[in-house]
């Protein structure tokens, strides 16, 4: 039916064409199927997002590196040079954590206002609206991979090697990170339609969230003991990004490949001395949890989506 000539007068048969239903509630399965069927739109949006961002700038994508590099430099200066926290290879520790944090931060901060910003589109063109925040997450994933590349370069220059035996956990951890960023982005983009303050609130919340995550400090040698003393160490791990950051740090920062609880290396006071299996089980269960949360976020979005048109 696609290849009919435009001048033909042949009647087209639509008897066996799929039927789409527009109704008040779209169930989760249909929602996921719709999303999957519009992958092409997602990639188009991601590439146009990135192109628009750097259109007409001479340095282009290089800018996406500049801000993380500056952050890295400042934290390094403050914590390692000025306050002398004594972490070996602190820049590497910072970088491994920042790569994760930047991906999450970039996704959420850009996706929060995206439905409001693209109101003209949302009100006039039909497509699964989740794709808009997901495109922002997609762009953040691209930046993430660029930064990951730079991190690898960093390792190479410093003569470090990642913990090769842990490397296979990285995809699991990244998948959990993606689903976390996507879930928060999807929900926040929808809530912002109803409460425009969310954008500003989110900036504050993300700052708080950043300091609750072990990016510039180490959980193990700061608050771990105190929390353990009260038996509430688990509270710290309620922050789902903590485990992901620790996994990245374990892989890129701790180059030793010793697979045991007793690793005779000073850096291990900085990270928990878990064996590989613990990292795997924790990351796998986090991924499972995030998958559920992702589905919940889609459901919440579906509930809020119905009135977008009149609220925008």
């Amino acid at each position: 039916m696609n290849n009919e000539s435009s001048t033909g007068v042949e009647r087209r048969s639509l008897d066996d064409a799929p039927v789409r239903v527009v109704s008040a509630r779209v169930n989760l399965g249909t929602r996921l199927r719709n999303l999957l069927s519009r992958r092409e739109l997602l990639t188009s949006l991601i590439s146009s997002d990135i192109r628009i961002k750097y259109k007409g700038s001479a340095l282009g994508l290089f800018w996406s590196m500049l801000s993380p590099a500056l952050t890295l430099g400042i934290y390094y200066l403050v914590f390692s040079v000025i306050t002398k926290n004594g972490y070996p290879d602190f820049a590497l520790y910072l970088f491994s954590g920042l790569v994760v944090w930047n991906m999450f931060f970039n996704s959420v901060i850009s996706a929060t206002g995206v439905i409001v910003d693209r109101a003209g589109l949302v009100k006039k063109v039909s497509f699964p609206r989740e794709i808009l925040p997901l495109a922002n997450v997609g762009a953040a994933v691209i930046y993430f991979f660029i930064q990951l590349g730079v991190l690898c370069l960093f390792l190479l220059v410093l003569g470090h090697s990642p913990a090769w035996s842990f490397l296979w956990i990285l995809p699991i951890s990244f998948a959990a990170l993606y689903l976390l960023a996507a879930s928060v982005s999807i929900v926040m983009s929808a809530i912002t339609v109803y409460m425009r303050d969310m954008r500003h609130l989110m900036e504050v919340l993300l700052q708080l969230w950043f300091w609750l995550s072990p990016v510039v400090y180490s959980y193990e040698n700061t608050i771990s003991l105190r929390l353990h003393a009260h038996g509430i160490a688990w509270v710290y791990f309620l922050n789902p990004i903590t485990l992901i950051i620790m996994t990245f740090q374990r892989i890129f920062y701790v180059s030793t490949n010793v697979n045991s609880t007793q690793i005779p290396h000073p850096v291990l006071h900085i990270l928990p001395s878990w064996p590989m299996s613990t990292y795997f089980y924790l990351n796998a269960s986090l991924l499972g949890l995030m998958a559920i949360i992702f589905l919940i976020s889609l459901t919440i979005f579906g509930r809020l989506e119905g009135n977008f048109e009149s609220e925008l």
């Binding site: 789409r20 527009v22 739109l41 949006l45 063109v125 039909s126």
Partner: protein, 381 residues
């Protein structure tokens, strides 16, 4: 014939906030502030569109036609009921709504195509057609923000009609571009019809519906008041529109003056084409009034043939019954029934008395011309 659009019991309600509290502070401080009112934009719509049919949706502003269209396109979710669609659908709710002004025309064609749900490959195949149709080949690699508004909508229209949809939904966008481009759009729509695709067209313009549609649906206040042949639906549409227009102008209408009837000396409203007719307008006035006469003649299809103020001659009403004669010296109309509306307007043109469809003139015609008016064409060599 396959049904491509099935609208089943679709209703849409909007909550109208009288005190919009969109910020968190306002919500926290005044959780119950402001009242909300439920507005019924659509109530229990039921209709079907078969493949190959062109259906017009008419209604004045606020009648719910855009809401209905948005529900069909999936931009809005109905509050209840459902819409079943078969085949691919391209919607033109607002031309160029999906455009990113920072990107070039070429990039936007692909992006817009993806938004309408068509693959990159498919857009590749028709890219040249799109550019040809839009007539902007020189600017296709220019950023869209430098486009003129005409180029902008031409490109958007070109994408939507070239992506080969089974159903095309058009919302008052045919009024774009210059006349030549409009003719091109209309042509394309006719090609669509010949190819057996379905078109849903929302418009204010009755003649567009008449020339393009097989059937028309009339909406009024969220209700479907007509769904049938174009002529009949348009007639109902005009009545609803004018009813409301009079209602709006009610401040100008004066209860003291009423138009009671329109009669002819012979009592018959039949007239031969080319002959004249004399109408007597009987009015009752409770005061002396001086105004102007106003008369409209419509076809049964709702087309205004003539609106006349009888050369501006004043009408002087005295208290009590009045009779005003109107002479139509010659009626050059062809076969058909024509409705006459009469009224009195003041010197500012405000209607102060009106009678809708005060008379219906039946014209008979024996000549060879077709249409609505006899021009008496002859050939000389």
């Amino acid at each position: 014939m396959t049904t491509v659009i099935e609208v089943e019991g679709v209703s849409k309600q909007f909550k109208i906030h009288h005190e919009r509290s969109q910020t968190l502070k306002e919500r926290l401080l005044h959780p119950k502030s402001g009242s909300t009112e439920v507005f019924h934009a659509l109530s229990d719509m039921n209709f079907e569109v078969s493949s190959g049919e062109t259906v017009g949706i008419v209604g004045h502003n606020g009648s719910g036609k855009s809401t209905l269209l948005k529900c069909i396109c999936g931009v809005l979710q109905p509050t209840s009921g459902q819409i079943r669609l078969r085949g691919s659908l391209a919607a033109l709710l607002e031309l160029g709504a999906g455009f990113q002004t920072e990107l070039s025309g070429r990039d936007n064609v692909y992006l817009y195509g993806a938004m309408l749900g068509f693959s990159r490959k498919r857009v590749d195949g028709i890219f040249d057609d799109i550019v040809d149709f839009s007539e902007i080949e020189h600017f296709i690699d220019t950023q869209v923000k430098f486009y003129s508004s005409g180029m902008y909508v031409r490109l958007a229209f070109a994408v939507a009609v070239n992506v080969d949809p089974d159903i095309l939904v058009v919302d008052e966008v045919l009024a774009v571009g210059d006349e030549r481009f409009q003719a091109k759009c209309t042509d394309r729509i006719r090609t669509f019809q010949e190819e057996g695709r379905s078109i849903l067209l929302v418009t204010h313009q009755a003649d567009q519906v008449r020339s393009l549609c097989d059937r028309a649906i009339v909406l009024d206040g969220g209700l479907m008041v007509a769904n049938g042949p174009v002529q009949e639906s348009l007639r109902i549409f005009r009545e609803h529109l004018l009813e409301d227009a009079v209602e709006l102008d009610r401040t100008g209408l004066r209860a003291e003056i009423s138009i009671d009837s329109v009669t002819t000396p012979s009592g018959s409203f039949d007239v031969r084409s080319g002959a004249g007719i004399h109408l007597d307008v009987n009015m009752t006035s409770h005061l002396a009034y001086s105004g102007n006469f106003m008369m409209e003649i419509f076809t049964r299809g709702g087309l205004l043939i003539s609106r006349s103020d009888a050369q501006g001659s004043p009408v002087n009403l005295k208290p009590g019954p009045n009779r005003v004669g109107i002479d139509l010296a010659q009626i050059p109309l062809l076969d058909g029934v024509y409705d006459v509306n009469v009224g009195i307007v003041d010197h500012h043109g405000t209607v102060i008395a009106w009678r809708e469809q005060a008379a219906s003139i039946q014209v008979t015609y024996n000549g060879r011309e077709g249409g609505i008016v006899e021009l008496g064409a002859s050939v000389s060599q």
